[in-house]
């Protein structure tokens, strides 16, 4: 078994070390995420190979490359404690590790790292050798059978081997130390969002605003009075009554993975109902663990993971994967429409694979994706959508990864080339469709890879069009989320532990830039509802100009501020009406108004 056999991992580590060192020596790589990944893998390899000084030096380099304050503070913490332990006699190692690890934790400014410490503890509590071995078998088997392990998979395998050999033996000590650190600091982070929130009511003069939720489907039964309805279509009669090319598109349209037209706003449940219910419990337990809570669901998940046999890992992982996809669009829709009685959800549902090994991409798949991009934009424009939530994205790497996972697509170079060619075709279709719809505001999620979306060519978040507004994720205190990608982020919004509904109506707190984008959509839709004559470009400007600027290690982040954007819109509306510029004031409720006036917006 690749990740547990020291001989196999030893040879792999040495080969990977040579490959990564060659790239660092011969190439001029500026991208910090790539450099972090390479140096981090090299540090782990050095430690596993017993080169302790090299491990410390490489780990220090990773720390230097970190830009997010919390990640910089935490970078290399465990590795340094392990190195300290390795330097003493075997019978003193456990004690030395514990002391070094606790000293590292004690030196941290807790308020800056508390979310990450809680998330680390959650990760440690659910990981097991069986879980890693079962995941590795599923993920790597096709590539291993072909005799070639692509670099991304190889780095994953080395990371798993590192966890099994260096982290799991120390896990109990780490969890205990983390728990004591968390217990010693009861103060939670402040919530900055409540005072910035804007809630609309039926009593206000509002215009119905169509919000396209381009996602994995929506449980429309949860939003009975907030749906876009195609009055020319008879529900569930299996016919295309309005002859627009879509059958039964009452609340929107749906696509299969390969671009076939489907009906139904919510995906069919493709796993047994009891597995879906168990996945919902597990997901809830995990999110509660991330939040540092101790509940019946967290206890049940810990117990389950500790006893999970290797051959049940696939079922477990794929059940969670199905739930994440199945529930995603509904969760997004709940955030996008909260506090807005004028919101009308238009569903654009796209199906995604949920299996560990996805299907091999084909020419038919590319054609299907091109069709999805073009026809979806055309449809939502015709339906009068003002704003589109796009909590999804991909890069050439995802297409390459689907080939790699299946050991298909020819040589690594051939995979790379076909992935780029097919990516370009799909991207061109989407980009031109979006550019041709200037009246619609598109809001992509930045991505969850802690990487530069432009370097990765991650789309649509890296598009720089006048009518796109990319959302990054911060937490409830406005601190950058560890996972949020960057590069081309227009505005940051709360994307960590965000409460919303999943199909069936249960509320769960999910995290991701997927949850940040609908916060931005929510504001855009409220601005359109209140001032329907605003253009997409104006709304974008109101959102960006209304945002609070926060300087973090030399970078300026803009944090969404709905109240302030509403104030700016009031000023703009007053000017447009020919009146004197109105003084900036809160749009409603109590709040902190700033006094600066709005800058003129383009017509």
């Amino acid at each position: 078994m690749l990740i547990t056999d020291p001989k196999a991992t030893g040879a792999l580590m040495e080969a990977v070390r040579q490959g990564l060192e060659a790239d660092l020596r011969d190439l001029d790589i500026e991208d910090r995420a790539t450099l972090r990944s390479y140096h981090s893998s090299l540090a782990n390899i050095a430690l596993l190979q017993g080169r302790l000084e090299d491990a410390l030096a490489l780990s220090a380099k990773v720390k230097e490359l970190q830009e997010k304050p919390a990640l910089k503070l935490l970078s290399g913490l465990s590795l340094r404690a392990i190195v300290a332990a390795r330097r003493v006699a075997p019978d003193k190692q456990a004690e030395t590790f514990d002391a070094a690890y606790r000293a590292e934790l004690a030196a941290l400014p807790y308020e800056q790292v508390q979310a990450e410490l809680k998330a680390s503890k959650a990760g440690l509590e659910i990981v097991s050798a069986n879980y890693l071995a079962g995941s590795a078998e599923e993920r790597f088997d096709p590539a291993v059978k072909e005799g070639m392990l692509p670099q991304d998979l190889a780095l994953g395998a080395i990371g798993m081997a590192f966890t099994i050999r260096e982290i799991l033996p120390r896990r109990d000590a780490m969890v205990k130390a983390l728990q004591e650190t968390i217990d010693a600091h009861k103060a939670d982070k402040p919530d900055i969002w409540a005072v910035r929130a804007v809630t609309l009511s039926e009593a206000q003069h509002l215009t119905r605003t169509v919000i396209a939720i381009w996602d994995t489907g929506v449980d429309v039964t949860l939003f009975p009075r907030r749906l876009w309805v195609n009055a020319r279509e008879v529900p569930d009669n299996g016919k295309d009554d309005d002859r627009n090319g879509f059958v039964d598109d009452v609340n929107g349209i749906a696509w299969s993975w390969t671009g076939e037209r489907l009906a139904g706003a919510l995906r069919k449940v493709e796993i047994p109902a009891e597995r879906l219910a168990a996945a919902a419990r597990d997901m809830k337990g995990y999110t509660e663990m991330q939040a540092g809570l101790d509940t019946p669901d967290t206890a049940a998940l810990k117990k389950k993971m500790a006893a999970l046999p290797k051959d049940e890992v696939k079922t477990f992982v794929e059940s969670i994967s199905f739930l994440s996809i199945y529930g995603h669009g509904t969760h997004v829709a709940g955030i996008a429409t909260a506090g807005n009685p004028a919101a009308r959800i238009l569903v654009v549902r796209a199906e995604y694979p949920w299996q560990i090994i996805p299907p091999v991409p084909t020419e038919e798949w590319v054609k299907g994706q091109v069709e999805i991009m073009k026809a979806s934009v055309k449809y939502l424009v015709a339906a009068g959508a003002r704003v589109v939530n796009m909590s999804w994205g991909f890069s050439p790497k995802e297409i390459e990864g689907m080939f790699e996972a299946n050991a298909a697509g020819g040589s690594p170079q051939e995979r790379r080339e076909i992935a780029r060619k097919w990516f370009d075709r799909i991207s061109a279709a989407l980009r031109s469709a979006m550019a041709a719809a200037p009246t619609v505001l598109f809001v992509p999620a930045a991505g969850n890879a802690n990487s530069d979306a432009r370097f990765e060519d991650f789309i649509p978040s890296s598009y720089d069009l006048p009518n796109t507004l990319t959302a990054g994720a911060v937490d409830k205190a406005g601190d950058e989320a560890a996972f949020t990608s960057y590069g081309k982020v227009d505005v940051y919004a709360n994307g960590y532990q965000v409460e919303s509904v999943i199909p069936g109506g249960e509320t769960q707190a999910w995290s991701g830039t997927s949850m940040a984008a609908p916060q931005v959509v929510n504001l855009a839709a409220k601005l359109f509802a209140r001032w329907p004559r605003l253009t997409a470009a104006q709304v974008k400007r109101l959102i960006v100009d209304g945002a609070d600027e926060k300087v973090v290690t030399g970078r300026t982040l803009r944090l969404l501020n709905p109240k302030r954007s509403f104030e700016l819109a009031e000023v703009l509306a007053s000017r447009a009406a020919g009146g004197k510029p109105a003084a900036a004031k809160p749009a409603g409720g109590k709040g902190q108004a700033r006094t600066a006036g709005a800058r003129p917006l383009p017509p």
């Binding site: 080969a15 990977v16 490959g19 060659a22 500026e30 790539t34 790379r416």
Partner: protein, 45 residues
Amino acid sequence: MLRIVAPLVAGLFALPTAAQTPRKKIDRADQLPPRAYKVEVSHRC
């Protein structure tokens, strides 16, 4: 059991060193070499 034989990357060891030739600038993720590592499966365990 798996045995890793060698890194299988076109031109990996033939690349000139930084002192001899300007380093190739990488502006985009897919300009990085598409590396894969050969694994030889004698028998699985």
